[in-house]
Subunit: 189 residues, 2 copies
């Protein structure tokens, strides 16, 4: 358990979209809402500065918002971390939710999250699909969340199934902006 | 219900401590953890810039984190807003919670919040004590929350009772930094 405040602070991560970066963009799709510029590569960094990015999206790896202790135990028992050598495919999915979602009380949002089987769906695809969630709303960013996924090439169809299931849920009725960027790790990195 | 994203974004508020500001500091007490400089006045502003502040603390008025729909209804039915003419007294209470709090799952934090009667205690002192909570943790600020209270002079003892009750709860075992700054609205403003 970290004891100093610096350790306890949420980790701030920047996704710099441009020409440089460890991740080569292979596809860029606007699912709903306004687009962002298509780029060749994405660099992931602690630093807010980067060489002439087309865009920078920021988010913090912060405390759990809906996950219960029981769900967390189930996730921890199955999940894999980022950076696995075989996980050369990734997706960056920036999402914004409607004002009507944020106006709901905590139990109302949790109920929708639960009816949408958000945790069970994610759990089903572990450990193949690793995931890290970055919270952006309190930073007043253009998106509320940046989700980063990593998986091996042979798990791509599983990843598509995961996304299709999530996008068909009640919770996704509240999503009013979503971009789907697919990437592969550059071989020389 | 706001429909544009600008309306939906959390409101970012800055508390500038220094010599200028609508609120004159009447007392400054470090309850636990490292101190911050004592100042003469506090200015509250959307703007991050201010004339030579000794310190600036920032936070966002964001979505509810623990409050249920039922609790929210009870609070809305009783609460008063900021800026009441008779509410010439205020308190700015920056708080940080331990890493062990943030490491808990959502249901674990809610259970402590509930056992600590956080909502019922606040409710008991409505509408006399108006309150606005600013979230700072995701901004990687030195505090996790900035709570701002406004009340009339004759409600000061009620405010002391509210604070004493909150500080005696299980939830407050997780507070490892707390400053208590009292203020009065400057007469000429």
């Amino acid at each position: 358990m970290p004891s100093s405040h610096a350790d306890a602070q949420p980790l701030l991560i920047h996704f710099h979209g441009g020409d440089d970066g460890d991740w080569q963009v292979t596809s860029h799709q606007t699912i709903v809402g306004p687009a962002i510029s298509a780029v060749n590569a994405v660099a992931i960094s602690d630093a807010s500065e980067h060489s002439a990015p087309a865009w920078t999206l920021a988010g913090v790896v912060s405390n759990l918002r809906y996950t219960t202790a029981e769900e967390r135990s189930a996730l921890l028992a199955k999940q894999s971390g980022l950076g696995r050598p075989e996980a050369r495919c990734a997706a960056l999915i920036p999402i914004r939710k409607k004002a009507s979602w944020w106006a709901l009380a905590q139990d109302e949002r949790r109920a929708i999250y639960e009816r949408s089987s958000h945790t069970p769906i994610g759990l089903k695809y572990l450990p193949a699909i690793a995931r890290r969630l970055h919270h952006s709303r309190d930073l007043r960013e253009p998106f509320d969340f940046l989700t980063w996924f990593e998986y091996a090439e042979h798990d791509e169809s599983a990843f598509e199934a995961l996304l299709a299931r999530l996008r068909s849920t009640e919770e996704w009725h509240y999503v009013d902006r979503e971009i789907d960027i697919r990437l592969t790790r550059r071989a020389d990195r």
